[in-house]
Amino acid sequence: MNNKQQSPVKKLLAIRGMGAALTAFVGLVIIYIAFGLINSAVFSGQNILNLLRSMSKYLLIGIAQSYVLITGNIDLSIGSMVGMSAMISATLMTTGMNPLLAILISLLCCLVIGVVNGYLVGKFKLPPFIATLGTMFVARGIAYMVNGNRNTDAIATGIGKEAADKFQNFFYYGKTLGVYNTFWIAMIVFIIFFFVLSKTRTGRHIYAIGSNVDAAKLSGVDVVATTIKTYLISATCSCLVGLILCAQAGMGNMEAGNMYEMYGVAAGVIGGVSPLGGTGILLGTLAGAAVWQTLENGLNMIGAQVGIQRVVIGVIVVVAVLLDVVVRNGKFGKRK
């Protein structure tokens, strides 16, 4: 028997998507140090805390999109669900509803969108781009309609200052162990979904669908149920980000979460989640979200214009995808 003991490094790299994730982490360190050398304020404790908090939103969105991407699908409705969640929770709180109940109702609404996405893609075989494009408009429409086509008032006007502070501190301004709660929320979600993806049968089924859906079906994988699960996870994470944005602003904004679905794609792809499905780990998404936020933060700190920030980030995303395609097609290391 061929039972050769692998070195720990080789074992680590053998984990699917680990190579790309580690590359993203190395990239992160380089980018961070480079910005720090240009402007030492990047290394300051407060900046690191802010960085971690801002990164958390992208991490949650990244987890949402990564789950869907690994199955070979996409969820364009994430940003709109973020907006919908923010608007529904804020509107309900401005009417004086208990924040916990408002959160549950927002979550329920997002889950409905998730189920619809899952059914359209998994059961009715609609192209995920089209199906989620439709629900993207629906969710954004709901975000607009929920408060009569205008942003909400401050939530404190409904539930009172004390409850509003509690809500805002829990999701955004409060700290635990010296770090903002937003970060801890994102970390807990990350650990749960990292475990689900890497250590459970559902996780294996998600990879199997993305890798070869026909083979997965032949292997007894319930493709419809698994697809629905991924869209539900996506909806849950989107709802959380909506609540974070609501807490941050202390009100509901109809445009909240605009373009977030693409930030999710970027975080995943930079971290090695393949848009073609079947590969990637959430550790990579964590790295991707961190790279994204560090770039934004660093470019801000060195005074780069918004336009330049977008160009740099766009180029990095394209290069990351290009690398994925090239590596998959085995174009590296071939003799002519």
């Binding site: 061929n2 699917r16 003799r335």
Partner: protein, 491 residues
């Protein structure tokens, strides 16, 4: 009394008002390896479907593992726990062997996965059959043979009483096939039953316990092992297809013997195998039929890749890809467009000048039939598709044609047709290079055989030695009669 695992009794199955299986009877016992030889494709896919899912029957009963699972009175639509291993792998490439064997199988309920435990559990299964693989190896790194074994293990682990293997011989080399047969015998002794489907009698001969002959969705004969040994060709010849095939091969061999051979080198194949870190080089003679058997799948892939990139540059070379009726048909384009696709390399104005296309149509109508030109390509029969592809290649007027596994997936009736088409290429003086794993049909046309071993060694076997190729070759008596024994020599 032996336990019955599968019984299909008077099964008639219809789909879209077409009778696919008619009065179909089949019994498989515990620990039995039942061979099945389809003479034409009708009913084969439907049989596999019915074995897996209990679809509504027009008539008859199906019993599996002692229980009636389907009947004309009531069909539940449920799945039977029967493993099916086909050319299209049902493994997930990016996952490990252990994941594919344990997690991706029907009936696996455990939610949290303990990888170490699964890996440990798989080792005894691998050890039992002498496979040198580690459970944590990803499937994408496995050879085709290893993948077949992993699929087999999955069925064994799942406790499927019946495992169906369809045309596996076309995917793996002779030696691997022999090994697979040993493994199947091992599991048969442990009580697993197999339905082994292959269009090659010589592959099933002496390996299966019984062989069922399938024609037009019906089993017309089942022969036991004893009959295979004693009256091999007499049984086989019952079917007119095979008599026709035998006669064709005999005439061809006689004809080729009479022809003068010049041994003029047309080209020398040169490529570098990255897998082996070795240069592959062999001559190809003008007008010959060269069969190339490649034992290592990665070398095969490298050669196919090189062919697909190099042939594009060479106007005098053409490639007929694997499963051409799927891979070489342009759906949505007309028959004429499909036919003329390669010609545009020679004649750039083919699409502008309707008179050229008109004259091509008139020329080929007599060969292909008038009606096909007005049909949608997707509506063509399998035979018409083969005809279209080979005609397209001939229109290109190549000097050499590389065929990748030309007989793969074809039943006996289609094999005869493909054989005739290949002979037509030879008759026109075109050099044919046939890259295959299964030699049964290729050798009946070949002038030379090159075996590329796992380590990249190229072994040349002349026609005189075909009878001594270490594998059941259907027409070995013909070769023996032709000349004296030659000698293997290494290059």
């Amino acid at each position: 009394m032996r336990k019955e695992i599968l019984r299909m009794e008077r099964v008639t199955y219809k789909e879209a008002d077409m009778t696919r299986l008619e009065d179909f009877n089949l019994q498989i016992y515990e620990g039995e390896i039942m061979g099945m030889l389809p003479f034409n494709g009708q009913g084969m896919a439907d049989l596999l479907k019915l074995l897996q899912v209990n679809l509504p029957l027009y008539d008859g009963y199906i019993y599996y593992n002692g229980e009636q699972v389907n009947s004309w009175k009531e069909s539940s639509g449920t799945h039977n726990r029967i493993g099916v291993i086909q050319a299209q792998s049902s493994l997930v490439e990016s996952m490990t062997i252990a994941d594919n064997v344990f997690v991706l199988r029907q009936g696996f309920r455990q939610e949290v996965i303990h990888e170490e435990l699964l890996n440990r559990q798989l080792q005894p299964f691998l050890k039992e059959i002498g496979m040198e693989m580690t459970a944590e190896t990803k499937v994408e790194r496995l050879t085709v043979f290893q993948r077949v074994i992993v699929e087999l293990l999955r069925s064994v682990v799942a406790g499927n009483h019946l495992i169906v293997l369809e045309e596996i011989g076309a995917l793996i080399s002779d030696r691997e096939l022999e090994y697979l047969h040993q493994i199947l015998h091992h599991y048969a002794e442990k009580g697993f039953s197999f339905l082994y489907i292959s269009p090659h009698f010589e592959e099933e001969n002496n390996f299966c316990d019984r062989i069922a002959f399938l024609t037009n969705g019906r089993i017309w004969k089942v022969i036991p092992k004893e009959m295979m040994k004693n009256q091999t060709w007499e049984i086989y010849d019952y079917n007119h297809y095979n008599m026709e095939y035998n006669q064709m091969v005999r005439f061809h061999l006689e004809k080729r013997e009479l022809e003068e051979k010049t041994q003029e080198i047309y080209t020398t194949w040169r490529s570098f195998s990255e897998t082996m870190g070795k240069k592959l080089e062999f001559p190809i003679y003008r007008g010959e039929y060269l069969a190339v058997q490649i034992h290592e799948n990665t070398i095969l892939q490298e050669i196919i890749e090189k062919l697909q990139t190099d042939t594009v540059k060479d106007e005098k070379a053409a490639v007929i890809q694997e499963s051409p009726t799927v891979s070489m048909i342009f759906h949505g384009l007309s028959y004429m467009d499909n036919l003329c696709m390669s010609l545009s390399r020679r004649m750039g104005n083919i699409w502008k000048t309707s008179s050229i296309r008109g004259s091509i149509r008139r020329e080929y109508e007599s060969l292909l039939g008038e009606e096909v030109f007005d049909m949608k390509v997707e509506d063509l029969s399998e035979r018409q598709k083969y005809q279209l592809i080979y005609s397209r290649v001939m229109l290109q007027n190549p000097q050499i044609v590389y065929c990748i596994k030309p007989f793969k997936g074809a039943d006996l009736a289609h094999r005869i047709h493909i054989w005739k088409l290949l002979e037509m290429l030879l008759d026109r003086g075109i050099t044919v290079v046939d890259i295959s794993l299964n030699l049964s049909d290729s050798l009946s046309l070949a002038d030379r055989l090159l075996m590329i071993e796992h380590d990249g060694t190229v072994r040349e076997i002349p026609k005189e030695d075909f009878a001594f190729v270490p594998r059941n070759v259907p027409w070995r008596t013909f070769y023996r009669g032709s000349k004296t024994q030659g000698a293997y020599h290494k290059k």
